[in-house]
């Protein structure tokens, strides 16, 4: 399986595998199809972050990718106002830990329109979005009256 990444080199020599790492190749392939994939343990059925090679609970080597609805809630959030090039050029933006309904936690950027409404406990949906910095983004779900 190709990592689709680029090699770490010194002169003409390849020093080692670089990023993205091979174990996440399936995740990036899914993202290219517009799917957000997570790791599923075939033994204990738990779902894990896409970087995970083995099950954090039972230790089984993970082989299965499963799509997530992307549904979840904001566990924690910080709005970045200063100290990065992006904040200087484009203004404040929010980065949050999303607790997905499937279990795993994803550090994700939050949609620009939600920067100032991103609050702990808010329902969000993480979706594949090629134009975002990482290829996926969390957006607040519309409130149900």
């Amino acid at each position: 399986m190709s990592s689709q990444g680029w090699p770490l080199t010194a002169g003409d020599a390849t020093l080692g595998v670089f990023h993205p790492e091979p174990q996440t190749a399936g995740f990036w392939a899914g993202l290219a199809r517009g799917e957000l994939l997570l790791r599923r343990c075939s033994d204990c059925d738990r779902t894990w972050h896409p970087t995970q090679i083995t099950c954090r609970s039972c230790g089984t080597v993970l082989e299965t990718w499963v799509p997530t609805t992307g549904g979840g809630e904001i566990f924690s959030v910080s709005v970045i106002h200063r100290g990065t090039e992006r904040a200087t050029t484009s203004g404040p933006y929010a980065v949050a830990v999303i607790r997905l309904d499937d279990g795993p936690h994803l550090l994700s950027e939050v949609g620009a329109e939600d920067t100032h409404d991103a609050a702990i406990g808010a329902r969000v949906r993480v979706t594949a979005e090629p134009t975002s910095a990482r290829g996926y983004i969390a957006r607040l779900e519309a409130e149900v009256d």
Binding site: S76, S78, G83, R86, G103, P104, L107, I120, G121
Partner: protein
Amino acid sequence: MTATTAVIADYRQEIVTAKSGERPSALQLGATAASRLLTETGVPRSRIGALFTGRSPQAYMALQYNHVLLNELALEPDYTSEITSHGAGALGSIAYAATLVESGAVDFGLCVTNEANALWTTPGAANASWEADPVFESPTGVSTPALYGQVASRLVHDQVVTSEQAAAVAVHARRWGSEHPDAWAYGRDELTVDDVLASPTIASPFRLLDCAPWYPGGIGTAVLVCTEQAARDLGLDFVHIAGNGLNTSHERLTQWLDSHPGDRFPATGARAASRAALRGAGQSAADLDIVQTSAPFTYVLLALLMEMGIVAPDGLDDWIASGGLGAGAAQAINTSGGYLGFGQVPQGLYLLTETIDQLRGAARGLQVDSARRALVHGHGGILASHTCLVLEKE
């Protein structure tokens, strides 16, 4: 208790600020401090059985940095390694050396940590890429304050720490630091809570004055660890390493959450590390005269003090109001200003050397009266790795 308890026999420290116009490498700082330490204490290089460093300095990346250093110093130790548990590895090196000395495996351990990242790099811009997953997390644009902000936003949401309580930390850190000649805050004006609350937001909930400044220079520190008898024979003013504790709970915050979805948050390794260090010393948190904790942000400092049992969560307001953070408190907190008042160098061991100075009655800033017992805490990663030492002076 074993009959042999390791001591810190002595240390040497090299500090160069950007203001001096000099620009030494981290290796120059560490090697100079170590060489001076061995020469001036009279310990032959052949007797150094263990050499430990922190992880490779950010401004001097080398595979096996400890080997670069031992090559420079012409040392031939039996045991040598980088102690790589983030910033906690710097203080952790002392625990590794003490354990070897107490086991009888070596006579002398040398621990050297050094960093000059502020002289050679832009640490504020680069640091988040060290602390976050380079593929999944760094591209979100997360900064180091925003990574710690994930923790602090929970502290605010769960009503553990308020912005006013956090601001009080900055006020007192400035005051302690303003008295210490090596500190970033030396000679700077006092702050008020209102100053902190009026400063611009960096990454919520942190305002500018909630954040530790990067130390405007480089620091290299070399520490000699040996038995009490060896230190006496050398005529050195030693300090007992009465207990030590280390704990690492994760590499990424999200991984910790994946494994502990229903647990108290933040639940850090500072709790286990401080308990182990106090247990080794046969003491409780109330027996400490001084506590130094490595915290780059105000909210985080209070969370760590709660984790280590220094202040109870429901007593935070009273503790601050009664001067718990100030000079004259029953337990002095961060006597050189800590990261917030002294400035932050990832690996300088300046909280440790400040503690040794205090216990020797030779503080360069405000001296704590008759201080005999102290806890020093070092942490790294986003609250990932923790080391605690309990130091005592007879």
